[in-house]
């Protein structure tokens, strides 16, 4: 290679100040999101496994337990069950955020990204955004399964859209919880277990599958205070065209609150994150 080319390839460029501002934060985030979106169709098995589990839950609850479960106000158990399953599906989907970040961390990618002049926060925003896309694909499959077993949307289109928005807002909030965990635990394996374990009690001690009225008193109180119950109740009422009361607003407040707090914590953690 001639010297001229070497110089051309290697001499430092004269650069002014590092571009900053919200537009660049968005651009950096989107660039990071495309990294994951490009990879998504190359690992379809991830999507398949993300879908198999909720489908299994649907079949278990609709057919195995469904016959023995009676819920007040819902003669058709599927109408009661499916919004709960939707909520559980998108919540479980948030675990990918933590696992993905732990993987980037273990591969040394986070070190590289932290050494670039980009917005550090964009790594986390890009990751959570791409997980919303992954989650919506899973959600579409779940919706199809729901219709197949007889679930019908009885509310207005606007109500259904609002309910779906709430689900994703809630799942997005938990993506940030998972982000913090993914950055804190030591390995991908740990992120995987740590991300899932607590979601079982969170989703089962709730109104997702059964009415909390039949639980022991103390447990019912826990379940009723569970934000997952609140979002499930809100979505269930909206999908079924019933009066949701203030539940949608409480659910939204939870989602925003969790997002703000955990985005802040994750950003702090990210600033000192070290790859291994």
């Amino acid at each position: 290679m001639s010297t001229a080319t070497v110089d051309q390839v290697l001499t430092p460029s004269d650069e002014g100040d590092v571009p900053s501002g919200l537009v660049w934060l968005w651009r950096d985030s989107w660039t990071e999101a495309t990294r994951h979106l490009r990879a998504m169709p190359r690992n379809p098995e991830l999507l398949v496994f993300a879908t198999i589990q909720p489908v299994m839950f649907v079949l278990l609850f609709a057919y195995v337990f469904g016959g023995s479960i009676e819920v007040p106000g819902y003669p058709d158990y599927n109408q009661f069950l499916m919004p709960g399953i939707f909520a559980q599906t998108v919540l479980f989907g948030s675990a990918f955020t933590g696992v993905g970040l732990a993987e980037d961390l273990s591969k040394g990618l986070i070190d590289r990204l932290r050494s670039l002049p980009m917005y550090p926060m964009a790594v986390l925003i890009g990751r959570t955004m791409s997980d919303v896309v992954r989650n919506s694909l899973t959600f579409v499959v779940m919706l199809a399964v729901a219709f197949a077993i007889g679930f019908r949307i009885e509310g207005t289109l606007a109500e259904a859209v609002f309910a779906t928005f709430l689900l994703f807002a809630f799942s997005y909030a938990f993506s940030w919880v998972q982000a913090l965990m993914g950055l804190s635990v030591g390995s991908v394996e740990a992120a995987n277990s740590a991300g899932f374990i607590w979601m079982f009690p969170l989703t089962f001690v709730s109104s997702a599958f059964v009415s909390t009225e039949n639980m022991p008193d103390w447990l019912a109180r826990v379940a009723d205070a569970n934000p997952f119950t609140i979002v499930t109740n809100a979505c269930r009422a909206l999908y079924n065209g019933r009066d949701a009361g203030n539940d949608p607003w409480y659910a939204l407040a939870w989602a925003v609150g969790i997002t703000v707090v955990f985005a802040w914590l994750s950003a702090r953690k990210f600033a000192s994150a070290a790859s291994r």
Binding site: V9, P12, D17, K107, L109, P117, G186, A274, S275, R276
Partner: protein, 338 residues
């Protein structure tokens, strides 16, 4: 010559471990500084501070006059980092990886793409460029990794143990690549625990041991500074050893001593030129039988031994199996403390 990198009095503690205890060095523009030291010496910690990944407890670090602690984003725009592990996204193609990093350096899409192609070609990866990195060999990943850190024409390139964990062939490949970069005038800070690597690639070397700089200079200067060359005399009869040591003392610049085999006398000399005939004549006059007399130019291994009293390999073994991640281990420990 202008100074591209300045590290001044860098101190970093992880819990009770002092990874850096006041490290100073500079890198001149278009020069390669080799930071040489065993595992756990603090090399990686120093690089992590200079590349804004870690904040020092004391001291300052500047890239092109930009303080890395006060203006990390501006500093980041001027550096390229290749860490100990190939930091590539295995799910993307080589080309996509390059384009992605280019975009994060705020290049336009067109520019990032063009630059990506240029580097793929330059690093002999054009055929593999459209394949997913998951299928690359270790050497290919490392080359891609280095290409990624060059995408924005960095003012300073940091290579943290670029050949650790590579097979000998890939290692030579990477060496050739780095030599080419260096000839092209890329200012480089290279850390390594391999003495031959520093010898071959670096213009100047600083030796770090246990968090302090214990020597600096060019490879030749270091060799000279620490006694330099040697003459090895292999005796026929080990009983002659004391006589030979006394007899040859007049030529030596240090203490002549006996190797562990009891029959090899090592004679440190300032300059080995002409010493072999001299020694042979001396021995002849006294009628001492020898099997062999060798001239040995000192290597960086000798330098390291004479500076630290232990070899690089010994330390690696002491520190637990020679894993390349002792600095990281200290950091993990710190993360646990927090």
């Amino acid at each position: 010559m202008t100074v591209a990198v300045v590290a001044e009095g860098l101190v970093k503690r992880f819990g009770k471990t002092e990874a850096l205890r006041g490290v100073d060095f500079t890198v001149e523009r278009a020069q390669v500084l080799g930071v040489l030291g065993p595992n756990g010496a603090g090399k990686t910690t120093a690089v992590r501070i200079l590349t804004t990944l870690l904040k020092p407890d004391a001291g300052t670090a500047c890239i092109d006059g930009i303080d890395v602690v006060r203006e990390p984003r501006r500093a980041r725009a001027r550096i390229g980092l290749t860490g100990q592990y190939a930091a590539v996204d295995e799910r993307l193609t080589g080309y996509e990886n390059l384009e992605h990093v280019g975009r994060l350096f705020h290049m336009s899409r067109v520019e990032a793409k063009a630059r990506g192609r240029e580097l793929l070609e330059r690093f002999s990866l054009q055929d593999a460029g459209s394949r997913v990195v998951g299928g690359y060999s270790g050497g290919m990943r490392r080359r891609l990794d280095i290409a990624m850190s060059l995408i924005a024409r960095p003012s300073v390139l940091f290579l943290d143990e670029p050949t650790t964990g590579l097979d000998p062939r890939s290692r030579l490949e990477v060496w050739d690549l780095i030599e080419e970069l260096v000839r092209g005038g890329t200012t480089t800070l290279l850390t390594t625990q391999y003495l031959d690597e520093a010898d071959r690639l670096a213009d100047e070397i600083v030796v770090i041991d246990r968090g302090v700089v214990i020597a600096r200079g060019t490879s030749d200067e270091l060799k000279r500074q620490t006694g330099g060359d040697q003459v090895e005399v292999l005796l026929e009869d080990p009983a002659d050893a004391p006589t030979v040591i006394e007899m040859l003392r007049c030529h030596a610049c240090g203490d002549p001593h006996l190797e562990r085999d009891d029959r090899t006398v090592i004679l440190p000399v300032p300059d080995v030129t002409g010493m072999v005939p001299q020694v042979v004549r001396d021995l002849d006059t006294r009628g001492i039988a020898v099997r062999d007399v060798n001239a040995r130019h000192s290597t960086l291994d000798d330098v390291f031994f004479s500076l630290t009293g232990h070899t690089a390999e010994e330390v690696a073994a002491d520190d637990g199996g020679g894993s390349p991640t002792d600095d990281d281990a200290a950091e993990r420990q710190e993360a646990g403390v927090r």
